[in-house]
């Protein structure tokens, strides 16, 4: 059979679900993760400030200073320690910052995201984030210069840790066995071939009879590029489609009359090509692109090592 999963771009990870079907995830970019943490830190401190203010004004008239200060200390400690844990447990591995950027925490081995993983990965923030932050804000005297330097080194080690492994793990991820991945939402659009193959799901437009030889020129990469061209919206899309149609006609030596409607021609060609390639795929022959070796194909000898990166 053809490989179920195409060649993967860097930063993509496969995870075998308990059902035995591998899912492909894209690791969250480091910048997005940093931005998510910043958002979370801001929200967290706003929350602490709001709670503290509420208590200070609420308890002011009682006049018990000790209680107020005690509460402030307790609240900031609890919020600081449990903000991330609370949200990651409650929102299936997301915090407000992560949700804003569309990233989330998952188990590296594909199982449940366990509460103990969430605890472990967020406890390590104490050294990765909070300790250096406290140290940085500490008043520094002249004799403390070396100490500040050490702090910088410390922050550096943990900050740069995600840059030194392929899985972009920070210390907490390593200890908890988690990944942070991007989880974008994809929208199901209409099938581009649906129009051309409207009746009976047969990919043929009587006006454009393509021969087998014409369909054997291109591969999957070209098919999917064509799909993108056909999905394009915008002022220049019509011009692009005309240009692409002209090029395809030249390449496949289109003998019929010049089609008046470039888009219709492209859709018909797309449907026919997809039907052809999918049929070949069923026979275990997956033709990645036009350069792939194939009897009768042009440029048969040239073959890129890995096929094009999946777009």
């Amino acid at each position: 059979m053809a490989p179920a999963v195409q060649a993967r771009a860097r930063g993509e990870r496969r995870l075998l679900t308990p059902e035995g079907v591998p899912l492909i995830f894209r690791l969250a970019p480091r910048g997005e993760r940093a931005a998510a943490v910043l958002i979370d830190l801001v929200l967290m401190h706003l929350g602490i400030a709001a709670l503290v203010l509420a208590f200070v004004f609420g308890l002011d008239w009682i006049g018990i200073d000790g209680v107020v200060i005690g509460l402030v200390i307790l609240i900031s400690f609890l919020v600081r320690s449990f903000y991330f844990i609370y949200f990651e447990l409650r929102w299936q591995g997301q915090t407000p910052g992560k949700r804003a950027l569309g990233i989330r925490v998952i188990d590296r081995r594909g199982g449940y995201l366990r509460p103990d993983s969430v605890f472990a990965r967020n406890l390590l923030r104490e050294v990765e984030l909070f300790l250096p932050m406290t140290l940085l804000f500490l008043p520094s005297e002249g004799s403390q210069a070396w100490f500040n330097l050490l702090t910088l080194v410390w922050v550096g080690i943990f900050l740069l840790l995600p840059f030194f492994n392929r899985d972009r793990l920070r210390a907490g991820d390593i200890v908890a066995g988690t990944w942070v991945i991007a989880a974008p939402k994809a929208v199901l659009l209409d099938d581009v071939a649906a129009e051309a193959a409207a009746a009976g799901a047969v990919a043929a437009d009587a006006e454009f009879p393509f021969t087998r030889k014409q369909l054997e020129i291109y591969g999957i990469y070209e098919l999917q590029t064509l799909e993108e061209v056909l999905r394009q919206q915008g002022p220049q899309s019509a011009e692009t489609r005309r240009e692409v149609a002209r090029r395809i006609q030249r390449k496949i030596a289109w003998a019929g009359p010049e089609p008046a409607d470039a888009e219709r021609f492209l859709k018909a060609f797309y449907a026919a090509l997809r039907a052809h390639l999918e049929a070949r795929m069923l026979f275990g022959e997956r033709r990645e692109n036009q350069h792939a070796r194939k009897n009768g194909g042009k440029n048969g000898s040239k073959r890129p090592p890995d096929g094009p990166a999946k777009t």
């Binding site: 366990r114 390593i174 200890v175 799901a201 999918e278």
Partner: protein
């Protein structure tokens, strides 16, 4: 040439299922799984499996990029809902108290004993050194922590320090308790997290803690107040010291996973043992909370030596039984 477009047929047959799942997942993402009505909750796994099977078929037969991307994304989103953090915070907490925490303590018994040994060693050295030469006291106990309780202080002052709680205003006790808790919990978490640096800072922290303790004991011992000091300490100390030992044990577990990965890769070993250590620390933080309350309230309000011993001893007995017995036989599907 006419070839049937199988992938289009396939999509027409299954699209209804996908849309149903998408709707369900979108609602679950917005308002949480709990907000879904029971019938939807029952449909979720079925729809998820059907879509997952669609995905694996689509990978084999379809070249429609949009459908493939959509199914990938939808399956992943449904997967997060089906296999996301399973328990709520509350359920997690109950399980954690009943079995998770004591189980983690038992599973890491070796590291905990090692951590305790380091602290005891520090205590013994601190005690002996200060006993031999009182000047060592200033090295081990910072002036902020000593609060005037130095070898230079009079025996009366030291004794008063052990019983001064009775006249403190209740609101100050509250402040004191919360301060102690967040301070100690911070140190405990640090001891764990520092395990990442191969455990050296963890061991140092434990050792230093022991030194301070030993110095205190030696100072009060030299004035014949040892018995009363231990009473004063034992109220919260039995809980607090156990918690600090557990934090140190957690740090050593992390260090051990890095240094001795056994048959796994370091990453796997860290991932597996790190979770246990994390559970350990959460428990230790809770213990420190209890210790903070005991220290802030019980110790200041109860000034009778015998009663202090009773409280401290009862807490010690409670924790040890809890660790030894709680949650035995409770099982959870852990790899």
């Amino acid at each position: 040439m006419t070839t049937p477009l199988k992938s289009l047929e396939f999509r027409r047959e299954r699209e209804r299922t996908w849309r149903a799942l998408e709707d369900l997942v979108a609602r679950a993402e917005k308002r949480g799984l709990k907000a879904l009505p029971a019938e939807d909750l029952l449909r979720l796994p079925t729809l998820y499996r059907a879509t997952l099977s669609s995905l694996s078929v689509a990978r084999a037969i379809s070249l429609d990029q949009n459908v493939l991307g959509y199914l990938e994304s939808l399956s992943a989103r449904a997967y997060f809902q089906v296999y996301g953090a399973r328990s709520s915070l509350w359920e997690g907490l109950v399980y954690f108290l009943r079995a998770g925490f004591p189980g983690a303590v038992r599973a890491t018994a070796g590291a905990n004993l090692l951590a305790a040994l380091w602290m005891i060693l520090g205590g013994a050295i601190g005690f002996l050194l200060v006993q031999a030469n009182a000047d060592w006291y200033y090295t081990f106990v910072g002036s902020g922590m000593a609060g005037g309780r130095t070898p230079a202080a009079s025996t009366e002052f030291l004794r008063d320090g052990l019983y001064d709680g009775a006249d403190t205003a209740a609101d100050m006790l509250y402040l004191f308790a919360t301060f102690l808790f967040s301070h100690n919990a911070g140190i405990g978490m640090l001891a764990f997290a520092l395990g990442f640096a191969l455990g050296v800072p963890t061991v140092l922290l434990l050792f230093y803690n022991g030194l301070t303790l030993g110095a205190f004991l030696a100072l009060y011992g030299s004035r014949g107040l040892l018995w009363e000091l231990v009473a004063w300490l034992s109220v919260h100390g039995t809980t607090e010291l156990l918690a600090i030992v557990l934090c140190g044990g957690g740090g050593l577990v992390i260090a051990g996973a890095i240094v001795f990965p056994e048959r796994e890769t370091r990453l796997e070993s860290l991932a597996r043992r790190g979770r246990t250590a994390g559970t350990l620390i959460m428990g230790a933080v809770l213990m420190l909370f209890v210790a903070g309350l005991l220290e802030g309230f019980a110790r200041q309000l109860v000034t009778d030596v015998a009663a202090r011993y009773a409280i401290g001893g009862a807490m010690l007995a409670f924790w040890l039984t809890y660790f030894a017995l709680a949650g035995r036989g409770a099982h959870r599907d852990d790899d």
